[in-house]
């Protein structure tokens, strides 16, 4: 029953994403573009995100060698966390430097999208926690933890977007 509800919710989010992308293209009756400074900032963000991902990966490998990390988390879950850290670093850097959205895109639709993804993934994470599949024998599983990590990642991006929007409107 509950998983059916979340399936419907995921389909609705898929439709919402499609509408957001379609709307973005039609706001100015043309495809948006990043200007040269935004492209430079984004390339810097890629570099930083990549570097952070590699550093986290090295840290993870050290942790695996020093202490048996698989007593607490599944390896695939740890890899997902590392990947999400890289994505979040890239997104937050771009948002902070105002290079996340193309020229002329306000980003309001993306805020609603982030809220929807946060709620749906948060809901799935709570459901998995109640089912007991989030943590099995003291080990955080990939199946249960993936929605939690996705929800948290989008929450951080949402906070960054809201802070930036508040900052811009304040002038």
């Amino acid at each position: 029953m509950i998983s059916g509800f979340f399936s419907v919710m995921l389909i609705m989010i898929g439709v919402f994403v499609f509408l957001v992308v379609k709307k973005e293209k039609t706001v100015n009756n043309e495809h948006g573009h990043f200007d040269e400074m935004q492209e430079k900032i984004r390339s810097d963000a890629f570099k930083i995100g990549y570097f952070v991902t590699i550093m986290c990966m090295v840290f993870l490998i050290f942790m695996m060698e020093l202490i048996d990390i698989q007593k607490w988390v599944e390896y695939s879950f740890a890899l997902l966390v590392v990947m999400m850290i890289g994505i979040v670093v890239f997104a937050v850097y771009c948002i902070y430097k105002e290079a996340f959205f193309k020229i002329g895109v306000s980003g309001t639709s993306y805020i609603y999208l982030c809220i929807a993804v946060c709620f749906s993934n948060g809901g799935v994470a709570i459901m998995r926690f109640n089912e007991g599949s989030l943590c099995k024998n003291g080990v955080i599983t990939f199946d249960g933890g993936s929605s939690l990590v996705t929800g948290v990642s989008f929450f951080i991006i949402l906070v960054a977007l809201l802070l930036k929007k508040a900052n811009v409107s304040k002038g």
Binding site: D35, E36, M37, Q38, E98
Partner: protein, 63 residues
């Protein structure tokens, strides 16, 4: 170093940063960064800005 020549040329044309950004096809932040000296534009963008403000490259970007 701040680009005061560009700022005064824009003011003389009675254009806001936003309006100049729209004419040049860049973001307002890019125009702001160029005026503040935080970003060195490519020659391509310099030419677009010069055309928009009716100035030469020497007028706006030569020390």
């Amino acid at each position: 170093m701040k680009n005061l020549k560009m700022k005064s040329a824009r003011a003389a044309k009675d254009l806001s940063q936003e309006q100049l950004a729209v004419i040049c096809g860049v973001s307002r932040q890019t125009i702001s960064a160029i005026e503040k000296g935080d970003y060195n534009p490519t020659i391509k963008l310099c030419i677009v800005i010069c055309k928009a403000l009716g100035k030469t490259l020497d007028d706006l970007f030569w020390e």
